[in-house]
Point group: C3
Chain length 263, copies 3
C-alpha cells in the first residue's frame, strides 16, 4: 500500500534519528511514501509542534498517516495515541501535540498504542520514535485498524491556543505573536475573521509602532516598511517588505499586537 507517512519531530537533521525512523518504516512497508513535514521544531516545544501539524495536515492526501514526535516525556508513563479522523490518522505522545488536530477534525476515535507485538524490541527508554511510533505507523500503512494496537481512549490531553482578547470599551482587539517564520514574519493569533472589514480600515500597533491598513501582499509596501497582511494560514501577520519584522522590532513569540479600527 503506497500510503503517505508524514513525519514531524524535534529531532533536527544534524543526527541520524530521522533517517533511522525511515529505515524502520521501509523495512515493514517498502512501498510507504515518506514526506518530511518538519524536523526543526524547537526541542521539546510541544506547542510549536502542535501548530506546525495543525496548519499543514489539511493539504495532504486523504489517508495520510502523520507521525508527530515531540516527546519530552519519552520513557515515562505518558500514553501514546493513534487518532483516527474521517480523513487521516495521527500518531503521537499524549502530551497535547495532537490536541489542535483533534479539535479541528471534530469527530475522532482515539486509541492507545499499547500492543508491544508491533514494537521494535528491546524498546528503548529514549527513542520511541524508532521503537514504537515508526513501526506502528508502518503497520497502519499496511491497512491494520487502530484497534489492533490498543484500546479506545476517552481521556487525553488538550492544549489551549491563546485566544485574542476583545476590548469592547476601547473597540480594540488584543492578540499575540504565536510563531515567527524564517523570513522574520510575525504570525499572530488574530484571525482574518476577527478583523471585520465592515468596521473600516484597521490600525495595528506593535511595540509602539503603528501600521495603517492591511496590505495585499508582502510586496505592497515601500522597501523596508512594516506592513500587516493576512498570511497563508488565515491569521494576521506583521511583516516587513524585503526584510525581517522580527529583526526590526527585536521581538518574538508572546509579543502583544493590538488592532483597532480607524473610522
Amino acid at each position: 500500500m503506497r500510503k503517505v507517512i508524514a513525519l514531524l519531530t524535534d529531532f533536527g537533521l544534524e543526527d541520524n534519528f530521522v533517517g533511522i525512523m525511515k529505515g524502520v518504516i521501509l523495512r515493514i512497508n517498502p512501498a510507504a511514501r515518506l514526506v518530511d513535514l518538519s524536523h526543526a521544531i524547537e526541542p521539546q516545544n510541544i506547542r510549536e509542534g502542535a501548530l506546525a501539524l495543525q496548519s499543514a495536515y489539511r493539504y495532504f492526501p486523504r489517508g495520510t498517516i502523520f507521525l508527530a514526535v515531540v516527546d519530552p516525556g519519552v520513557g515515562s508513563a505518558r500514553a501514546a495515541l493513534i487518532v483516527k479522523s474521517k480523513g487521516y490518522l495521527f500518531l503521537g505522545p499524549d502530551n497535547g501535540i495532537l490536541a489542535p488536530v483533534i479539535s479541528d477534525e471534530g469527530k475522532v476515535d482515539v486509541y492507545s498504542i499499547a500492543n508491544d507485538r508491533y514494537f521494535l524490541k528491546p524498546v528503548s527508554r529514549t527513542f520511541h520514535g524508532r521503537d514504537v511510533f515508526a513501526p506502528v505507523a508502518a503497520h497502519l500503512s499496511l491497512g491494520r485498524h487502530p484497534r489492533q494496537f490498543g484500546r479506545r481512549l476517552h481521556n487525553y490531553r488538550r492544549l489551549p491556543i491563546p485566544e485574542p482578547r476583545v476590548d469592547r470599551g476601547k473597540g480594540s482587539i488584543s492578540g499575540e505573536v504565536i510563531d515567527v517564520d524564517r523570513f522574520g514574519n510575525l504570525l499572530t493569533n488574530i484571525r482574518e475573521t476577527d478583523l471585520k472589514p465592515s468596521r473600516g480600515k484597521i490600525v495595528a500597533v506593535v511595540k509602539g509602532r503603528t501600521i495603517q491598513g492591511l496590505s495585499l501582499s508582502y510586496a505592497h509596501a515601500k522597501r523596508g516598511e512594516l506592513l500587516a497582511v493576512i498570511g497563508s494560514k488565515g491569521y494576521l501577520e506583521i511583516s516587513r517588505n524585503l526584510g525581517s519584522a522580527k529583526d526590526l522590532l527585536r521581538t518574538g513569540i508572546g509579543q502583544t499586537v493590538v488592532v483597532r479600527w480607524d473610522r
Copy 2:
C-alpha cells in the same frame, strides 16, 4: 505518472512550508517523485537560486519538472512562468530565477501561469508556492501541456551573471567570488576555458595572497594551504586543504580574484 518534481526554494526547513507543498503535490499526483534540490537559498536571493538551479538541472532525468520559488514579489503583479525546453519543464516567478536555464537551454517555449482553475483556492497573497506553483507542477506531472495553464509569452526577465573582465594590457583576468559552499570553498565566475593552459602556469591573487598554479584536487596541497582548483561546476575555486578558504581569508561573495600567467 512517476515524474520527478525537484523543489528549489528559499523557505528553509525550519518551517512546514516545504512539507505543505509536497502534501499539495501528492494529493494531485500520488505517484510524483519529489526531490529536494535545496531549500537553503538565502531568503529572497534570486541570483543565488538561479545559480543553484542552473548548476544542477542537467543531472536530472529528462522530463523532470523543476519548481523554483524564490519570490520576493509574491502577491504583486509579477507573472509566473512555465518554461518548456527539449528535456525539462521549469516553473517559477518571472523575476530572473529561470533566466540562466532559459539561456542555457536555448530553444524554449515560455507560458504564463494564469488559469486559476488549477490553483488551490482561495489563493493566498503570500504563499504561491502552495497555492499556485505546487498544484500546477502536479498537474503538469500528470501529462497536461503548459498551454493549458496560460498563454505563450515572449517577454520575461533575464538575470545577468557578472562576466570576468579581461585586461589585455596587463595580460590578466579579473573575476569575482559568486558563491561560497559549506566547506568554505570560494567559487569564482572564472571558467576553466578562461584559463588558457597554452599561456602557461596561472597565478591567482586574492586579498594580497598569491596562489601558484592549479591543483588537481583539494588534497593536492600541504595541510592548511590555499590552492586553486577547477571545481565540479567547471569554474575556478579558491580552496584550502583540510580547511576553509573563506575563514582564512575572511571574505565572501563579491571578493575580487585576479588571475595572471607566469610565463
Copy 3:
C-alpha cells in the same frame, strides 16, 4: 528495481550537492527509493560519519545500498570501496568511514570502484559523490554485481573507536564522550554491558559532578537535573531533564566520563 539507497554525507543542505546526487541516481534508476541518513556530518569528520552509519544501518531493509561520502581525500589516490555483506551494500572512500560496519558485519567481500565505464564523465577532481559514487550506487541498485565495478580487495583502512579503560585497582571504568546530539545529550563509549548491574548502583562522574544511579528515561529526574541513562544506541549517555547536559557542563566530544560502583 525499487531498492533503497540511503545517503550519508558531510555536504550539508545549504548547497545543491545532495540534490544533484539524487538527480544522477534517478536518471540511471528512476525507481530507486532515496532516503537521507544525514548530511550534517561535520565537514571531513570521517569518524563522526562512520559512527552515524554504524548506528543506523541495521534499521534499514535488507538489500539497502548505503552511500557514505565524507571524503577529504577526494581526487587523490585513495581507493573507493564497495563492501558487500550478507544483508547490505556499502559504498565509500577507503578512509575508514566503512571500517565500523565492516567490523560489525563480520563476513564481507570488498571491491574497488575502478571501472570508469559507470562513471559520469568527465570525472571531476572534487565531486566524486556525483561522478563516481552516485552512478555506481544506481547501477548496483539495478542488480549489477560489485565485481563488475572493480577487483576484490584485501587491504583497506580500519578506524579504531576508543575503548573505555577499566581500572581494576580503583574498581572503575573510564570512558569518553564520542558524540553530542541536538538535545545536548552526551553519548559515551561505555556500553550497557560494561555497567555490570551485579556490582550495584553506578556513580558517574563528569567534570567534577556526580550522578547517582541510572535513570530509566530522560523524564525520570527533577527539572534541570543531570542524569545517566542508557541511550537508544546501547551506550551510557549523560543527559539533563528538560535541558542540555552539554550546555550545563560546557563540554563536548572527548570529555572523560568515569563510572564507579556504589556498593
